[in-house]
Structure formats: C-alpha cells, structure tokens
C-alpha cells in the first residue's frame, strides 16, 4: 500500500517536472473547414494535434542555441539564414538589454524554426492547421465572420513594435491558445503553398471569388483583408529570410 502511495507521489512529482520543462501544449480537436485562401476553395480536414499555447520565446530559443551551437549567429550557415538573423542580440548567447526573455523570438529563418521544433520532437504547423486554430476568438472556434474579430487583426497592422511585448499579452482563444493574432506573424511549414505574387491585380485574377463586388464592406470583406495580409506576408517570404515581426510556435501529432 505504502509503496503504491510512494510510487504515485513520485509519479506526480515527475509529471510536474516534465510539465515545467516542456512549454505547455493544448490539444486541438480536428475538423473540416474552408480556408479563405487555398487551392480551389476546397474543404480541408484537420486531424487532432497538439499546439504550443504561446509563441516560442527569446529564452527558449536562447537555450536551444546553447545546446545547438550550429544555430549561433556567428555559426549559422548563410544558406539557412539571411544577414539579419538574430541581429538584435548582443552576442551569440546574450540578449540585448532592451530584450525581454518572455518576448516572442523573432528574426529567425524558417530553417531555424523548423530545426528548433524538431529538436523538441515537434514540427512547424501547416498553413491549414495554423489558420484552423487562428480563426477562433475567445469563445467560438470559428469567429471569422465577426466584425470585432477582424477589426482586432486589422488594428494590429497599425500598431508599431508589438514584437517587444511579452507572450500572453493578447487574448486567450477558444482552444486556450494565446497570441495567434496581435503579437507577431508566425512561420508555417508550407508558407509558400498559396502563391501570392504581391501584384494584387494578378492575385485577384487568380482568386476571383475572393473579392465580391458588393458596394459595402461586409464582414466577409474585412475577413478577406485581415487574412489576405497574412497570405501576402507569407507570399513575400523565402525560407532563409528573417523578420523582426515574424516568430513561430510548434505543433505535435
């Protein structure tokens, strides 16, 4: 009897240790939805998966760099990162005085983000998975047609320097996930899957049904704009690019 109790206690103890070392993840129940942009407006089915509650922080990435020196600023291959990689850091392993350990890591390339996730036995989310989680607001899984949900996203585009805020400073959504909008853009594994050339008139040709010609802006238009900007930023990226407003988080099957 005693041993069982002891075992149980140790198990609990171990559990809590593991929970503390691992950044928290939550389960996302899969489903079927139509992404705003995608290939031919088809339904997409998402399986169940786990996602990080917060974007990866400066502190977490710092630890990763210490463990994996090949990702230090001075060592990283130019094939995998551009010149701005971690350029705000004081040195290879020291943050700058104005950088908060709990702010999201930015100025990292897709390669660096992908490697980070793999080192944790995780992976980067696909665009469809990311959008699936991101379309929820505080209390519903799909808030894309709500005016205030879209206005929040659009207003973020006008706020300067949101990347220096700390994680958790925006709302917790339906899935108990924070900061999907309002902090930083986030890398996805297949960010170039939807081709947006940046030449809007051509982009619109491609997706005629994206912009309805109605005279008034209804929620759908706002929704299109809020989302279009996300796809436009993805379309403008290359895997080695690093950006001050672009971070990431990981997922797991």
């Amino acid at each position: 009897m005693k041993t069982i109790v002891r075992l149980a206690v140790t198990m609990l103890f171990l559990n809590s240790i593991i929970a503390n070392c691992q950044p928290k993840m939550v389960k996302i129940k899969g489903g079927t939805y139509i992404p705003l942009y995608g290939t031919n407006n088809q339904k997409v089915t998402i399986d169940n998966f786990y996602i990080d509650v917060y974007p990866v922080t400066n502190q977490e990435f710092l630890e990763f760099v210490k463990k994996h020196p090949e990702w230090k600023r001075s060592k990283a291959l130019k094939l995998f990162v551009d010149d701005n990689y971690l350029n705000d850091w004081k040195s290879d392993t020291i943050l700058n005085t104005n950088q908060n350990l709990q702010s999201p890591i930015t100025s990292i390339s897709w390669f660096a983000a992908k490697n980070y996730c793999e080192a944790q036995n995780k992976r980067l989310p696909t665009v469809d998975e990311w959008e699936y989680v991101a379309m929820s607001n505080e209390n519903m899984p799909d808030a894309r047609t709500l005016k205030n949900y879209n206005e929040f996203i659009l207003s973020w585009y006008e706020k300067p320097k949101t990347n220096i805020q700390t994680i958790g400073s925006t709302f917790q959504n339906y899935w108990k996930v924070y900061d999907m909008h309002g902090l930083v853009w986030e890398w996805t594994s297949d960010f170039n899957a939807v081709l947006i050339s940046g030449e809007s008139r051509k982009d619109v040709d491609k997706d005629n049904d994206l912009f309805c010609g109605s005279a008034a802006v209804n929620a759908t238009d706002l929704m299109n704009y809020a989302a279009f900007m996300r796809y436009a930023i993805r379309g403008s990226l290359k895997a080695k690019y690093t950006m001050k407003n672009l971070g990431f988080r990981c997922v797991k099957d």
């Binding site: 585009y157 006008e158 947006i196 030449e199 005279a215 238009d221 436009a232 379309g235 403008s236 950006m243």
Partner: protein
C-alpha cells in the same frame, strides 16, 4: 541625246529624292528605346513640397534610385494622428526626376520594423504591373529592378500590394518626372504637390490616433482631402513662396485613392498646363482636372504680391476637409494690374464644424453629468476647436477683420457678458453690434459644437489675448442652452 537627257533628269531627281530623305532623317524622332546611356549617377530624391534640380541638357544615364518604405505615425490635423505608410518617410513619397532614355535602377527597401509586404507600381514604367511584380518585398528585405524611361511626362507611382486601396489610402503614392530631351523650359520656382483623400474611423477633427476605415473608403466618403498628406501641409509657415515677376511651376499629382481633383489657384490663371502630365499643352486655364492616379504640370507667372490659395475647387473639400494650400508672393504692388485692398486672411480653412443660420428655438437636452477638465487641458482642447472653427473669421490672435468680423482680443463686448457670448456661439447672431467702438453688422452662423467643446473654446478665448480670464464651465453652457 534624248536618252542622256532623260537619264540626267532621272539622276537629278534621284539625287533630290535622296537629299529630301536625308532632311527627313534629321527631323525624325529618335526611338527612346535606342537612346544611348553614358555613365551612372545617384538620383537626388526630395520630400514634398520640393523637387530635385532640373535635368537640363544632360545626356541619358543610368540613374540609381534607393527608396525605403517606412510605416510610421504622423499628424493628420491638429490633435489627430494617423499611421501612414510611406515611400521615403513622407506623404507623398520622394520626388524622382529623370530624363527620357535614362535607365533607372530602382532599389526598394522595406524597413525591418514594418509589418507588411509592399511593392511599387510606377506609371512611368513600360512592363507588367509597372514594376509591381519585380518589387514585392518583405519587411527587412530589398528588391532591385530596372527600367528605361520611354515616354516623357509626369507620372504617379504607388504601392500595389493588396488591399491596394488600403495601401494607397494610407499614403503610398508619389510622382516621377520624365523630362523630354533638353529638359523642360526653365522657370524660377518649382514645387511638388500631391492631393490625397483619407478615411478615418472618427469624423473629421475627432482627436486621437485614428484608424483607417475601410467602409468609408469603399463608399468614397472622405473625412480628409489634403495636399501633401496632412491638413496645413502648405499653409502658414509651410506655405510655398515666390517673388513678384517670377514664373512658378507646380508638379501636381493626385494619389486618390478615390477622388478626382479640380485643381485651382485662387487669383491666378495657369499660363500653361501639361494636360494630365502629358505632352499636350493647354494655355490660359483656370481649373484643371487631375484624375486619381494622374498628374498635371502647371506654370504661371506671378505678377502681384499677396497670398494665393491652392484648392481643390470641389470647394467643401478645400474649406472643410483640408484641401487648401498657400503660395505667398512678396514684392512690389502693381496697381495697374490689381488695385484692390489687400487683406490677409480672407481664405482660411473653416474646419469640419457644421454651420447653420441662426434661429430662435434652442432644443432642450437631457441632463448628463460632465466631469470638468483642468484649465490647462481646456486651454489645449479649446485652442484646437478655435483653430478648427473660429480662426477663419476671428483670426489667429483674435484680432478679427475690421469691417467684417469683430475682434475677440481685448473685446469689451465679449468681456461684458459671458452668457451672452456663449449664447452667440450656440445660436448665432445677426444684426449690428458695437465692439471696441467700431460697428459691425454681419452674420455669425450657429456653431454645431458639443457643450464640452463650447466650454473649452470659450475658456480658451477668455484666457487669451488680454480678456478677463473667465473659466467657462460645461454647466454654464448647459444653463445658457436650456434657457432658450
């Protein structure tokens, strides 16, 4: 013999023909695509209202243009701020000056702090998207592309990243000039002016940081129509200047996104207008139409001194939405050309306050408790109301205009009775009054201001220019309002 003669005739005629041909070749226009370039220079870029030095008769060259996109907060009007997206940090963006046949090597950088990808579509470019596809650039990156200028004229450039309307409405436009062979005829003064319409969540004059309003933009219901990105960019100390006898050339563009400009200079006639920025020159024009995404080059000689007002002659835009600029001309008067009484301050912005003719029946309003603001805050807010609403007639220091608008500075009429003065602001006033010993007989319209705004502006007036320092409370304004 005959044969010889005919041969001779044939030969001479052939010679004649070939001579003619040669002459024709000399007159023939060189294909701009074939213009040979010699050397490389950095392009001089200027912020409005200034333009780079004329091209003159330099040969075609490779021209390096480096432009940076910056998203930043700026001032739209007194107390109103807005997040502008800019080419080179100004609205409109930097002025680019080239000549026909130049090869422009254009590098577009997107500042790392920016959130959005951008690009540039130059109407001077012959090529798909005007360069938009080649220049799509993520924050922290730069893109380079080059083009040859094939057509002389004044062209608009703008951002063409979706939503295009939003990027343009936030200020992403500017002008690029392609001068003809030998340059434009020299003038004394050149300036750069560009009109744009802005759409904000709050109404015109509503204070604070205003967000872009997509709904209003689609309905084409502009809150601000302005020259050079903000109200007052070309008035007061920012006015453009010239001296009597000089020729002035204005490079005028219209970024839109929606409205066509009816560009006019009050008190001047354009001697020459390059219609729509092209090669057709129209003479003696009063008002020229500049479409959204278009431009015009106008020039005129200034013959008399004074302040000349630049407007969009869709006139409510000028006096109530901000499309008003000033050209101040100094020098000797010439009575034979213009004999009028010179009076400063006839044309001033009137702000967005709705004016109505005075009437006798005030409306009763429900009681709402208002928290009184501090005197400093009231002075600050009151000044903004004053500059928006009262300044056009009563002038910047409350001096008024003799014979037309009574003074508010050291005014016996004003200081004698606070309630009466509040009543005039609320209900308007017609008929003769005597102020500081001078008679005035005109109309003051009823001002549509909130009670708080009336209290602020009256407090500001009473605590400025040697008046009796009354602090007008919101309650007092309410009392006067409800007495009627």
């Amino acid at each position: 013999m005959n044969i010889l003669k005919t041969l001779g005739i044939i030969i001479t005629s052939l010679l004649l023909i070939s001579c003619n041909k040669n002459e024709k070749n000399e007159i023939a226009i060189v294909d701009p695509a074939e213009i040979y370039i010699k050397g490389t220079i950095d392009a001089e870029l200027t912020s409005p209202p200034f333009v780079p030095a004329p091209v003159g008769n330099r040969v075609a060259k490779k021209l390096l243009v480096n432009m940076e996109i910056i998203e930043k907060e700026g001032t739209m009007s007194d107390g109103v701020t807005y997040v502008y997206w800019t080419f080179g940090g100004s609205v409109p963006g930097s002025f680019i000056r080239t000549r026909i046949g130049d090869v422009v090597e254009f590098t577009l950088s997107n500042h790392p702090d920016n959130k959005l990808p951008h690009n540039i579509d130059l109407h001077a470019v012959t090529g798909p998207g005007g360069g938009a596809e080649s220049s799509f650039v993520a924050p922290g990156q730069q893109k380079t592309f080059s083009f040859k200028t094939l057509n002389p004229g004044l062209y608009v450039y703008h951002c063409a990243t979706a939503p295009v309307g939003m990027h343009i409405a936030n200020g992403m436009y500017g002008l690029i000039l392609v001068e003809p062979e030998g340059g434009l005829p020299p003038v004394d003064k050149e300036y750069y002016i560009m009109q744009g319409d802005f759409y904000t969540k709050g109404a015109n004059g509503e204070r604070g940081l205003q967000a872009f309003d997509m709904n209003k933009a689609i309905k084409e219901d502009a809150d601000y129509v302005v020259f050079n990105g903000k109200v007052g960019a070309l008035t007061g100390d920012n006015a453009i200047t010239a001296n009597v006898g000089e020729t002035v050339r204005l490079f005028v563009g219209n970024g839109g996104p929606n409205l066509t400009s009816s560009f006019h200079v009050i008190g001047e006639i354009f001697d020459n207008v390059h219609i729509e920025g092209g090669s057709t020159i129209s003479k003696n024009i009063q008002t020229t139409s500049i479409p959204a995404g278009g431009a015009a080059i106008v020039d005129f000689k200034v013959d008399v001194p004074g302040t000349f007002i630049l407007v969009d002659h869709a006139i409510f835009r000028a006096f109530n939405k901000g499309a008003l600029g000033m050209l101040k001309v100094s020098g000797k008067e010439n009575k034979t050309l213009y004999s009028g009484v010179k009076q400063e301050g006839i044309y001033h912005p009137e702000g967005s306050t709705i004016q109505t003719m005075p009437d006798e029946n005030g409306k009763k309003t429900a009681e709402v408790k208002v928290v009184e603001k501090s005197l400093t805050q009231k002075m600050k807010d009151g000044k903004q109301v004053y500059m928006n609403t009262c300044f056009a007639c009563h002038q910047s220091e409350g001096q008024g205009i003799e014979g037309a608008f009574p003074p508010l500075a050291k005014s016996d009429y004003l200081n004698a009775d606070v309630k009466r003065s509040i009543g005039i602001v609320l209900n308007g006033k017609t008929g003769e009054i005597t102020v500081n010993g001078k008679k005035y007989n005109s109309v003051m319209t009823k001002q549509t201001l909130t009670e708080v705004e009336v209290a602020d502006v009256m407090t500001y007036i009473y605590n400025s220019w040697g008046n009796n320092k009354t602090n007008v409370t919101v309650d007092l304004v309410k009392q006067v309002k409800n007495k009627n």
